[in-house]
């Protein structure tokens, strides 16, 4: 099994010649698009007057001469003339993808130019991995910096430029923020602890047996401070509900259905409805308990339509 370390020094793109020779029309288009009015890119005589052999290509076009072209970009990585040769690049991509580094951003491009290109030059490029960093945490997400060296050569095999090219290949950060934390204290901790074990409990007065939710330190009926917790059946019905649109909290998907569910035991709780569209919810609809493991520290009881479970 190939590891990231094994890629150091490895060629991922064998020498490959760009599709077009260096030519004056493409130089003119580039200079126009860039707003570069330097006459050495447009006027043969002006270029000669500076001691050059004629019109030269802007140094910044170096990469452009070896680009695969529009069609290959649109058709995907396996398209184009050089795809067959790029087995190393595909192998590296596969390894990165397997580890979840599915996103990419270019972070550095350093060029060293050896000579100016003139019309008629044929540019080839070869790419070798210089290093792959250990996993790093970045603002974008966790990933590895992949640094390669691209060597550009002419029709005689002479080096015309060397490019050090660095990409961050990363796992994008979770788009969803964690759900708001419940303020857990001595009066309600038992309920959230039970929820973490996927048990929906209802506080029960040890004195008179009355169930109560939300819980509290003492019984409003008999005054007892003693209580235990009864396990709920997980069946109930929608007592009321809202569909939230605005403002949006980054922890939730909208529209968000929040309901007051009346349990068969008689107590009510605020919860979310899942497995149902906002337009399908009705007061009185029978619902059954499900669990949402919102994150490692927080599990919450949610409810789905009863028929949805039966199906």
């Amino acid at each position: 099994m190939t590891s990231y370390e094994d890629f150091a020094g490895r060629e991922i793109l064998p020498l490959w010649e760009g599709p077009d020779p260096v030519n004056v029309p493409m130089i003119r288009h580039w200079a126009e698009a860039m707003g570069d009015r330097n006459p050495i890119y447009r006027d043969d005589a002006a270029a000669r007057a500076t001691g050059r052999p004629g019109i030269v290509a802007p140094a910044s076009m170096m990469q452009a001469w070896t680009m695969r072209g529009y069609a290959a970009t649109v058709e995907g990585p396996d398209a184009g003339a050089r795809a067959g040769a790029a087995a190393g690049a595909r192998e590296l991509d596969g390894l990165l993808e397997k580890d979840g580094y599915t996103s990419v951003v270019a972070t550095d491009s350093e060029f060293e130019f050896h000579r100016e290109l003139v019309a008629g030059d044929r540019v080839s490029v070869r790419e070798v991995v210089e290093s792959i960093s250990p996993e790093k945490s970045t603002a974008l997400g966790t990933g590895r910096f992949v640094t390669t060296v691209r060597t550009y050569t002419d029709q005689d095999g002479e080096v015309v430029a060397v490019q050090r090219w660095r990409l961050l290949r990363f796992r994008p950060k979770e788009a969803r923020a964690p759900r708001p934390r419940p303020a857990v204290n001595r009066d309600n901790a038992f309920w959230f602890e039970a929820a973490r074990e996927h048990r929906l409990v209802i506080q029960r007065c040890a004195g008179c047996g009355t169930l109560r939710h939300p819980p509290g330190p003492c019984c409003p009926h008999c005054g007892s401070f003693d209580w235990d917790a009864a396990e709920a059946s997980g069946r109930g019905q929608v007592y009321s509900f809202v569909v939230n649109h605005h403002p949006r909290h980054p922890a939730f998907e909208y529209p968000l259905i929040v309901a007051v569910v009346e349990l068969d035991e008689g107590t009510r709780l605020v919860t979310n409805l899942v497995g149902v569209e906002p337009g399908e919810v009705e007061i009185g609809m029978p619902v059954v308990l499900d669990w949402l493991d919102a994150d490692p520290d927080l599990s919450l009881p949610v409810f789905r339509p009863q028929s949805g479970i039966a199906a």
């Binding site: 759900r179 708001p180 934390r181 419940p182 303020a183 857990v184 204290n185 009066d187 309600n188 959230f192 939710h213 939300p214 409003p220 007592y239 009321s240 509900f241 809202v242 569909v243 939230n244 649109h245 605005h246 403002p247 909290h249 922890a251 939730f252 529209p255 968000l256 929040v258 007051v260 107590t267 009510r268 709780l269 605020v270 919860t271 979310n272 906002p278 007061i283 919102a294 927080l298 919450l300």
Partner: protein, 391 residues
């Protein structure tokens, strides 16, 4: 009449402008409002010896007193539960005046609620402390139920289900508010009335609430001066006599989320306030010539009408649709434009409007107003007032 009814009166009112970005500190807003109210009463800051505000207010009494030139204070008190405190401040002041604990009490509330900390954004990212108030949010915010609009929407949906009310029934409340605001130069929505179609077309906030069911957010301050009715008679304006002033917290009361009561279509704490107001004043619903009802969200105006005895439970939608809340109707309502139309000052601007109605100086003054009922925040422990013309 019983107890302290008629013993105290509101003699002065004062406010800042109502804006979305005051550009000033909350303390400055409080001071501006307080000084304006004291001046309106024909008094000097040094005459003030009592202060009442909300626990939610950031402007402690001592800072306001020191800044405005008040001297010795013999009474200072605060009311919890957000907008539910509004009329409670006047009750506290009236009790203090009636018992001789203080002579001139200023009630005030000032905030940069729009440009500063916005209540409308919700409690989801509140601080992680574990007192009982924070723990109460543990049953709500992890499920994404964290804003006042969402909390009210839960009541509204059940109310619609049980009574057959519709979104249009809520919308009619907004239309009346905005119509009244349209002729009130102090209102944010001055000259900007809406139609029921506008209401229906406005975007969802929390179904069944549209945007136009929800009040605005406001920067501003409002203050009121309470003195004895006797002293008020010697001051520049006709007294707005405190005929009734009551607080109410109901059985199984939660903060905006009393979803666990046998029924949730009513507002029992408002019924409790209403019964006290009528008992104190010796008046009844038929004696009320106008109403300033708390309207942070339209749906909870309907059960207020029911709890206060203007119609039977479930019939408020018809009461509203019949035009009773209009200026020429049975119960002219929120003549300043309410919190939807004028400003969201936690109900305190509504008390000022009730004073203007009793003085006969509202921009939308109906004929022959003697008694005005005012309510504070709904869904929370709340309060109410009956203000009347001097007898």
């Amino acid at each position: 009449m019983s107890g302290f009814s008629g013993a105290a009166a509101i003699a002065g009112i004062g406010a800042t402008e109502f804006s979305k970005d005051s550009g000033r500190s909350e303390l400055r807003l409080a001071c501006e409002a307080v000084l304006a109210a004291v001046a309106d009463a024909g008094l000097k800051p040094s005459d003030v010896d009592g202060m009442v505000t909300f626990t939610a207010d950031t402007n402690a009494e001592i800072h306001v007193a020191r800044s405005t030139g008040m001297r010795d204070l013999t009474f200072f008190s605060r009311i919890p539960h957000g907008g539910g405190a509004a009329c409670g401040t006047v009750q506290q002041a009236a009790l203090a005046v009636a018992t001789g604990v203080a002579d001139v009490v200023v009630c005030y509330r000032a905030f940069n609620e729009r440009s500063g900390v916005r209540y409308g954004l919700g409690q989801a990212d509140g601080p992680a402390e574990t007192g009982a108030d924070s723990a109460a949010y543990a049953w709500l915010t992890p499920f994404g139920l964290s804003t006042p609009a969402q909390w009210v929407a839960m009541f509204a949906r059940r109310y619609m289900h049980e009574y057959g009310a519709t979104s249009e029934d809520f919308g009619r409340v907004a239309v009346v508010d905005r119509r009244h605001a349209a002729t009130n130069p102090a209102a944010w929505f001055y000259r900007r009335p809406i139609t029921l179609e506008d209401h229906q077309a406005s975007r969802w906030i929390a179904e069944p609430l549209h945007l136009l069911d929800c009040c605005q957010e406001t920067d501003g301050g409002q203050a009121l001066v309470v003195v004895s009715a006797e002293r008020a008679r010697d001051l520049p304006h006709p007294p707005a006599v405190v005929l009734g002033a009551a607080q109410g917290s109901g059985d199984d009361q939660h903060m905006m989320t009393s979803y666990y009561r046998p029924r949730i279509t009513g507002i029992p704490e408002m019924g409790l306030v209403g019964r006290q107001l009528y008992a104190q004043s010796g008046l009844g619903p038929a004696d009320m010539d106008a109403a300033i009802l708390y309207d942070h969200f339209t749906p909870l105006v309907l059960p207020q009408l029911e709890e206060l005895g203007f119609c039977a439970p479930g019939e408020a939608k018809d009461f509203v649709a019949e035009g009773n809340l209009e200026l020429g109707g049975r119960l002219p309502f929120n003549t300043h434009g309410g919190q939807l139309g004028e400003a969201y000052l936690h109900g305190m601007n509504g008390i000022a409007e009730a004073v203007r109605l009793v003085r006969g100086t509202s921009v939308n003054q109906p004929e022959g107003v003697r008694n005005v009922i005012v309510t504070a925040g709904t869904g929370v422990p709340t309060s109410g007032l009956v203000l009347g013309a001097d007898r």
